[in-house]
């Protein structure tokens, strides 16, 4: 758990990058720091592992004031991932991934075992990559390595500064999924910087929306989309916030709340969609008119019913005007 308690940062030149910020990242959850460039996201993040000093207020990590901890030990207990992956070009992939365990004095055997486990987590063959160097890997692979390096010594807390920001959209989405999958298993307490609204909605349990170093709103993505607290929040998420909010819901949510329609056996031009697909993708599929009928299937490919634009619209209406959003991503 990370708690920001009236945390303020003023740089030497007099710029107040973070102003009196108060919020908590609950154990095992992802909080995304979101906001326009220069709003203080990176500064706030770097104060946690003391790469930046704290001008005023406190940061409490798992019950301890960060300033009272040894800063080297503190950093070794916090996974840190940056946009430009920050891999050391002079070290092999194994040396890179095992840097923190190495600094902590793990044995050779412990390190090798851990390396295998981690590489399997991201679907890279440990034997094949062990002796390679960062420049021999693709951008996506380097970023994956950057992520598992942060996980290497199993730190309770992770800081991620636009970790997927430099990747092209297709790979980015894939790695986001992959990372959420990993997070479901490892349940780290994560502070995640992003300037990408869709990424924030997808990754966050809660979003901190910042402007000029101040918190504009601290809420779950669905709450923030459904009930923006002020004009800045409304403007920031833009006109299509209703559509964006659909990515927080699945076909299953729609089925549970308003039900599907029966499918028509006589229509031949059909496509199927998994019940766990999100509604934003579902809507895109419907709007693109990829087929005359979209049939919903469960994980065993049983047909459950059909989904239509009308249904999605109804659901949206029900969600935004009715009760607050029900379900979160898995």
């Amino acid at each position: 758990m990370i708690t920001f308690d009236h945390t303020t940062k003023t740089y030497e030149g007099g710029v107040t990058a973070v102003n009196n910020v108060d919020f908590t990242v609950e154990e095992g959850s992802i909080v995304v720091l979101l906001g326009p460039s220069g709003c203080g996201k990176t500064t706030l993040l770097r104060m946690v592992n003391r790469l930046e000093s704290i001008t005023d207020g406190r940061i409490i990590i798992d019950g301890q004031n960060s300033m009272e901890l040894n800063q080297i030990e503190l950093r070794r207990k916090i996974g840190y991932v940056i946009q430009s992956n920050g891999l050391f070009p002079n070290m092999t992939i194994e040396e890179n991934v095992m840097i923190v365990p190495d600094l902590l004095g793990w044995s050779k055997k412990e390190k090798r075992d851990r390396f295998h486990t981690l590489m399997e987590l991201i679907g890279l063959n440990p034997k094949e990559y062990r002796k390679r160097y960062p420049h021999e890997l693709s951008g996506g692979q380097q970023q994956r390595i950057g992520v598992v390096r942060a996980l290497a010594a199993d730190p309770p807390v992770m800081l991620m500064d636009e970790p997927f920001g430099a990747l092209d959209p297709i790979i980015r989405e894939k790695i986001q999924e992959e990372f959420l999958q990993i997070q479901r298993e490892v349940k780290k307490t994560i502070l995640f910087v992003s300037h990408d609204i869709d990424e924030a909605i997808k990754m966050a349990d809660k979003i901190v929306l910042l402007r000029g170093g101040e918190i504009m709103q601290f809420d779950t993505p669905s709450e923030m989309l459904a009930h923006p607290k002020n004009d800045f929040v409304v403007q920031f998420f833009g006109k299509d916030r209703a559509i964006r909010s659909l990515s927080l819901h699945t076909v299953k949510d729609l089925q549970d709340n308003i039900g599907l329609v029966d499918f028509d056996e006589t229509i031949h031009d059909t496509k199927t969609i998994n019940i766990n697909q999100d509604l934003r993708n579902t809507l895109s599929m419907l709007m693109n008119q990829e087929a005359d009928q979209v049939i919903v299937t469960d994980n065993n490919d049983h047909k459950l019913g059909a989904v239509t634009i009308d249904l999605v619209q109804k659901y949206l209406h029900f969600e935004i005007k009715g009760k607050p959003a029900a379900s979160q991503k898995g």
Binding site: R75, S84, G86, F88, N90, M91, L103
Partner: protein, 217 residues
């Protein structure tokens, strides 16, 4: 050709001995220059103010004509009865090597990308760990380039050391000039050139051997 053979027949052992003397003088000066210059270069990356001054002074040192610097050494070291010979020549060579070594070390470490440094600090490296594991390995090619420059420079300047009685290949050349003996002059000059090429070649091999594979491209 006949004459060359006769010349070498008589002088080869002496040429070889002077070459060794020359290499020893330059080698020792470089070792001491490294012991001073590399840590100083690294330290300067943490002290901008001092860096400007030191690099300035080192630059000026290199612009002093070598014969003048050797000249200045004589009265200074006379005070400890070492006015001529090995000591003043050695000190002059150490001074001349400082600029390429300090400057390249300083620049190389400075040029390590801020993200990489940030990552090193972020994963919890102490300052010396960051230097040894990240900054120096990544700066090594540029530091080595500075060392090679210093070695070649010193092998050339070392010729002047003969004028203050420090021996080396300069002896052949100065004797050749005073006696009007072209064989001496030419053999001395060629020996200097060979020595420089061989030294540079060896250092290049060392550089290749110790440059981390991940950055050698």
């Amino acid at each position: 050709m006949q004459e060359w053979i006769r010349f070498l027949d008589v002088n080869a052992p002496r040429i070889l001995q002077l070459t060794i003397e020359h290499a020893m003088l330059v080698g020792l000066a470089i070792i001491v220059a490294l012991i001073i210059g590399v840590p100083l270069g690294i330290y300067l990356t943490t002290n901008e103010y001092l860096a400007g001054t030191v690099l300035q002074v080192a630059s000026i040192t290199l612009t002093i004509p070598s014969i003048a610097l050797f000249g200045v050494m004589i009265p200074v070291f006379s005070m400890i009865n070492q006015g001529i010979g090995f000591v003043p020549a050695f000190v002059a060579l150490v001074l001349y090597s400082q600029l390429p070594i300090i400057r390249n070390t300083y620049t190389a470490i400075k040029n390590v990308s801020p993200e990489m440094r940030d990552a090193a600090v972020g994963v919890g490296m102490k300052t010396y760990q960051r230097l040894l594991r990240v900054e120096i390995p990544n700066a090594l090619p540029v530091i080595m380039a500075g060392i090679r420059t210093a070695v070649v420079l010193n092998i050339g300047i070392g010729v002047i050391a003969a004028y203050i009685g420090a021996g080396g290949l300069g002896v052949l050349i100065t004797q050749g000039i005073s006696r009007g003996d072209n064989y001496l002059i030419i053999s001395g000059s060629l020996a200097v050139a060979f020595l420089a090429m061989i030294a540079d070649g060896i250092l290049l091999l060392i550089q290749k051997r110790y440059t981390p594979k991940g950055i050698a491209n």
